[in-house]
Amino acid sequence: MLHHHPYTKQRIWTHPLIHVIIILGAVIMVYPVLWLVTASFKPLNETFTNSGFFPKTWTLDNYVQGWSALDYTFDVFFVNSFIVCLGAVIGNLISCSMAAYAFARVRFKFKAFWFMLMLGTIMLPYNVIVVPQYVLFKYFGWINTFLPLIVPKFLATDTFFIFLLVQFIRAIPRDLDDAAKIDGCSHFQMYLRIILPLATPALATTAIFTFIWTWSDFFTQLIFLGDQATYTVPVALRTFLDSSGVSAYGQLFAISVISLIPILGFFIAFQRLLIEGVATSGIKG
């Protein structure tokens, strides 16, 4: 009856069953995605007759035909998506880190007020600003260009990342700042030479999440891009879905698989950074 560590003992006892549940759950979770991959290699006659995991014959037809299913080939849409993502990443890195530096390291009037306001806009639904934004960008002649998708990032509209960076910069010891101040460093030099290099992990999290979110963003790209030459991958996929019948599912799957590769690639390469980012800041993933 007397154990010193009953808690630990029980832990060991429950291991096998828990392991089975967890593995089973994991299989159910990823099965649809893996099935999407193998289904993209099935020939047309199997798309509806064989819902099994493996194709009876493997073919690349879906990839070849899907790639040129629209007026432009999908390389155009992939390049467009990359341009938009790259612009968004650069914009967020510059503007959000600048704002974060001010909030974390500079003493200025009404800082607390502006900080609260910034936090307040994190949860602001995009709906309440999208119509006037559309009118403004239309007035500028920016509809059917990438500017409505990139310029806002240079103006730090993704305030969540400001918050993330502020939290990180606040945790950097001030000794370095003081030493730099004594050496006559200006705020700009301090931002550029001391804080930015030290904030690399948080900047990387910002860059990766900006890339992933922009890559799979659909709503804004759907609204602002109406000309097929400017389509990004999600908008092109939607047009492909609308224009093709059910018979094109194989091709749709093939393009879908390619469209998920950049996200999965980033995830595999920066897994630890991403998961820590979610765990520490509550990024919604």
Partner: protein, 324 residues
């Protein structure tokens, strides 16, 4: 600007009153410099706030009281849009679909997230791999690609019916074409993405000191009581955080409903979630005044539910600091 050494010398320290005033003036100008620097660093954000957030917010409030089709100038019609809303059966359909979607998907998502976090927190080998696998759907789930997959999976001859066939249930029901089940498939898609709240729960579980469990065990508490009296109370702040975050996100879901229903919100408006209806009215029918009014009602609804969550939180959210 006057060039003054950053540190006062001994001579400066012995200055007369008048000169001290000058030094104070210098101090002030240094503060002024800090102010200037702070505002310069914030300049991009200020521009964004003014032109892309606050400005548009106010103009959309104005537009909500107008008739506006993008082509001609907005025409003031008072509260007509808001009256039209309560007389619009499709608006009620949208509200209904959204409330069902939010209040079914969020609790289920949190339940799965918490359950898996508890299982994964038992210190088993390979935790990093399982955590990563469970997180993948959160990463991919919002994309058009996965929505297309979902459309096939729940179609008449899709994956779900195939799997049901394996266990002896033969059916060709198209789940996405059925008014009773279509919204359910979207809820399932949202719940499938429980990985990100799960990771936040896992981080929270790691924060709970093992001494609490040891003390509880010494007092004779079993697994259930330890969960009920130690784990759960200490996790309530994180449950609260996840709940608000997921709720605000769920109110704004768009992509899955748009792709799965082909942009219609059908069958019979069963998947017409709010953001989709705003899109249809604003950007397909160019009723931008009406769309703005709907957006403001959504903002108020989100604010109301968040406020409710905060107000009730004092009855169930337990902060450790409060005990002191």
């Amino acid at each position: 600007m006057i060039n003054i050494p950053s540190k006062p010398t001994r001579a400066e320290a012995k200055k007369t009153g008048q000169e001290v005033q000058r030094v104070r003036g210098f101090k002030l100008s240094k503060e002024g410099r800090e102010n200037l620097v702070g505002y310069l660093f914030l300049l991009p954000w200020f521009a964004g706030l003014l032109f892309l957030t606050a400005g548009p917010m106010l103009s959309s409030l104005y537009l909500s009281f107008t008739n506006f089709n993008l082509l001609s100038a907005p025409e003031w019609i008072g509260i007509q849009n808001y009256i039209a809303m309560v007389q619009d059966p499709r608006w009620f359909n949208a509200v209904k679909a959204t409330l069902i979607y939010v209040f079914a998907s969020v609790p289920l998502k949190l339940l799965f997230a918490l359950a898996l976090a508890l299982l994964l927190n038992r210190g088993l080998r390979g935790l990093a791999i399982y955590r990563a696998i469970y997180y993948v759907p959160s990463l991919l789930g919002g994309s058009v690609a996965i929505a297309i997959l979902w459309r096939q999976v729940f179609d008449g001859n899709g994956l779900v019916n195939e799997v049901l066939g394996w266990i002896g249930i033969k059916t060709t029901t198209s789940w996405i074409a059925s008014p009773n089940y279509a919204l359910g498939t979207l809820i399932l898609l949202a719940v499938w993405q429980f990985g990100s709240p799960m990771i936040i729960f896992l981080a929270g579980l790691k924060q709970i000191p093992t001494e609490y469990y040891e003390a509880a065990t010494t007092d004779g508490a079993g697994t259930l009581r330890r969960f009920w009296h130690v784990t759960l109370p200490l996790l309530t702040p994180i449950i609260f955080f996840n709940m608000v975050l997921q709720m605000v996100g769920a109110f704004q879901a768009f992509t899955p409903a748009f792709i799965v229903s082909g942009g219609t919100g059908g069958p019979v408006d069963s998947t017409l979630i709010y953001q989709l209806y705003i899109y249809q009215e604003g950007f397909a029918n160019l009723h931008m005044g009406y769309a703005s009014a709907m957006a403001w009602i959504l903002l108020l609804a989100i604010a109301l539910f968040s406020a409710l969550a905060f107000l009730t939180s004092r009855y169930w959210v337990f902060y450790q600091d409060e005990r002191r």
